[in-house]
Amino acid sequence: MKKYYLGIDLGSTTSKAVIIDENDEILGRGITNTRANYKVAADIAKEEAIYDARFTLLSNAIRKDMDQKPEFKKYMEDIRSVFQYRQFKRRMDSLEQLLKQTVSEFEYENKDAIASELNKIIETIRPQIRKEFLIENLGSKNQFFRDIVSERYNEEVEKLDKEFYEPLLLAFDKSITPVENEMVKYNFKELVNESMAELEEKYEGLADQQEDGSKEDWYWAELNAVKNNYKNVEYTIREHIEDIANEDIYIAKMVGTGYGRALLPFPEDCIKSEILCHAFGAHAVFPDTRTVLDIGGQDTKAIQVDKNGLVTSFHMNDRCAAGCGRYLGYIADEFGISLNELGPEAMKADKETTICSTCTVFAGAEVKELLHNGEKRPNILAGLHKAIVQRAMSLIARSGGVRNEFTFTGGVARNQAVLKYVKQMVTDAYGEVTMNIHTDSIFMGALGGAMFARRNISVDLPVNEKKTV
């Protein structure tokens, strides 16, 4: 039986899971922002990683075709997004049910009118989200269930009469958390079949579409290929799906890391510091890394590693949260926008407004003052992003500076504006150095954990590996 290894990183904001095989190849990733207890968070992330792993196994099974035939490549990309949509849909069904129930238990006089508005909202956003997943590849944007739904739900609520605001927002607040914390189990095969059916519908509808010059030629080439040949792909997938759905993804070992690690129901020796895990993960992906900056939800870490990925020293923010992800969360709340919109909005700035407050909470007050004085929102946001990175730069300096190749990890590495300032300030302070940012940045801790798990915990290093091989 094949062996797989699991790393779970229980952060303060999100929980991540990564499954690797015996060659340290990432097979599956799972992430959740549930604020339920860590056990539930770990389970949800792990389940998600297992579905993702099956998907990878499926892709691997038809790898040859994918490499050679554009329709296979395109189909697999599309189906992953649809698959994510089907998963989303299960949770959305739960949410719909709970929203309706919550409203039915309200004691407002216009309860019936509220229920009717709620139905209208759901009817509007459901097809909208479906379309975004199927056509616009929403699944690739790394958004959480809560973010996807709340953005569209709030938009619709705002269009309504003021009398509906409070009850509808209240209903959402009451319903979203239990749904997020729900452990939704799927049948992999069933979900793939559903996804294939959705895709059939999509490709059939494509016949009427015209090339309009808005996309590159290869886009149309792939699309036409898949439009004409998707039945072949379906046939090949059906050949493998049974085996893959039934394959036992045997987790031989696992390692937990992150803030919640002590609360995991793991044996003590299966729990590792997130500092070591982040460093090990980052080093595995970029072996020449010597300095790792990780900006997570509640802490920022500057880590120095040696050529084996071993931590030689690290520095963390201790007495202040200004400079971590939560600062951004707080700022997003202040502006009434979602976390995902922060970076793009800040990128529109024509200058950075100077933010004087070194404290997260005071910065909120300062932002209000600046807006009142007519400062532009993107400029203020740019200033706030810059402020965070300045904090991180101070930690890097305290940990010994950037010595060689530099890798940026953690959830905040997904924010384009943060990236921009990190690149700018690291270059200003340390000259031209290789800077690595990976799409999997947020998973580095979990990846490091999984890699420790594969090395049988006891710490073990590339050096030891060579000797035993």
């Binding site: 500092i275 084996n308 030689t312 020293s313 963390m316 007495r319 305290r398 710490v459 290093l461």
Partner: protein, 428 residues
């Protein structure tokens, strides 16, 4: 549940000494004894004894108050009286204690000072501290000695002469005036001889960490060991007795292959040997220590046990050069050494005691210690390639001890050491 702490004979001796001192202080006024407030670094213990005065160490009272969970209240009291949040918490704790009636750690009242003797000026806060006390005790005589910093990593004859002059012209005449006792050089010499003896013993004691396992913890237990030599017993028979006893107990531990005593009994397995820079946190001293001994970490040397005198490099009080050696003593305390000297000293400790790592506990409200700490850490890391760790807390302000943050950092640090060790084993 923490077990009842093990009591060795030396511990009992120390307890008796401290209780005796506070008893004497409690009745000092009735007994006609003069009281001298002074600080640990550069303390002129032998001179104070020569004039039959009783010493009071405000920073010791502060740390004792912290260990008895009283410092938080005292600090609030001082802050109510306009002492800023950023002021040294030893000062605020002391000022708060004074405002609440000056009841000392043993529950007895601490008498007002007749003399405020400042013999170490490397910590600027000390000056301000005594200025504050002077306002509260207008009848106390303030004697200040300027202690030159070892800027060029040396004590020159001129520096010593400069200090001796102050001792002769400022300190001694004023001490005579307050005490009504004529300066007796022979008496001072007798104390100095005993000081040297105690210093020899304590050096041998801290050198026992060369053994594996180390029989003592040179930081968490070390701060108790330096008690007698620092709080006014240097220069007495009692101190010599105490250190002889302690040394013989440690010898027994070595013979039996035992590790250090912790509040929960013997430390079972020595996994990591560390050198620590910076004072400990006093408000959560037990929890702080526990993080270390639970992980099998023993501290084989620390800078904090050298604040009252650096004896490792061979320096001793010398009865043949009484005033000169007092002057040198003041200039030779740890925080009066320049940063490269401190790096050399700590590097020597790491090498001599075969330490696996170096940890800095950075204290929010202590400038004397914090200045240069990061640079020292980087230099030591580069020079010796030892894994370094950095944590932050405070002396006696309970608001600045974040257990989970410190534990998180230390856990990561210990795992880092484990990784390093397993790799060394592989490559050997």
């Amino acid at each position: 549940m923490a077990k009842e702490a093990q009591k060795e004979k030396s511990m009992i001796l120390q307890k008796e000494m401290v209780e005796g001192l506070f008893n004497q202080l409690a009745t000092a006024k009735e007994d006609g004894k003069k009281v001298c407030y002074t600080f640990i670094p550069g303390n002129l213990s032998e001179l104070i004894r020569t004039f039959d005065m009783l010493p009071v160490y405000p920073e010791i009272n502060a740390l004792q108050s912290a260990m008895r969970k009283k410092s938080g209240g005292y600090i609030k009291e001082a802050e109510k009286n306009a002492h800023s949040e950023d002021v040294c918490t030893y000062v605020k704790c002391d000022v708060g204690m004074m405002m609440k009636g000056n009841i000392g750690p043993t529950g007895q009242k601490i008498p007002e000072p007749d003399v405020l003797l400042l013999s170490y000026t490397g910590c600027f806060t000390f000056l301000k501290w005594f200025e504050t006390l002077k306002r509260e005790y207008p009848n106390a005589k303030v004697i200040m000695v300027h202690t030159p910093y070892q800027e060029n990593a040396e004590i020159t004859p001129e520096m010593t002469q400069y200090m001796v002059k102050q001792l002769k012209e400022e300190v001694i005449p004023q001490m005579e005036e307050v005490s009504g006792i004529k300066f007796d050089e022979e008496k001072l010499k007798a104390h100095l001889r005993l000081s040297k003896e105690a210093e020899d013993w304590i050096t041998k004691i801290f050198d026992t960490t060369k053994h594996k396992p180390s029989p003592i913890d040179a930081y968490f237990a070390g701060v108790y060991y330096i008690g007698p030599i620092n709080i006014g017993f240097r220069g007495t028979e009692q101190a010599v007795e105490y250190y002889k006893e302690l040394y013989s107990e440690i010898q027994d531990r070595i013979k039996n292959g035992l590790g250090p005593i912790t509040p929960e009994g013997e430390m079972k397995e020595e996994k990591y040997r560390l050198v620590v820079e910076g004072p400990p946190n006093w408000t959560s001293f037990r929890e702080f220590w526990k993080i270390f001994y639970d992980m099998g970490a023993v501290i084989v040397a620390s800078s904090y046990t050298k604040v009252g005198g650096v004896y490792d490099m061979g320096w001793r009080h010398d009865a043949n050069r009484p005033l000169e050696s007092l002057a040198e003593y003041c200039m030779n305390c740890y925080t009066n050494m320049n940063i490269p000297q401190r790096i050399d000293l700590l590097s020597k400790c790491i090498e001599d005691y075969d330490a696996d790592g170096y940890v800095t506990n950075s204290i929010k409200s202590c400038n004397s210690f914090s200045a240069g700490q990061l640079g020292m850490m980087r230099e030591i890391e580069d020079r010796l390639e030892v894994p370094v760790g950095f944590i932050e807390s405070d002396l006696v302000d309970p608001r600045y001890f974040s257990y989970s943050n410190i534990k998180n950092r230390l856990e990561s640090y210990f795992q880092m050491l484990a990784q390093r060790k397993s790799m060394e084993k592989e490559t050997v």
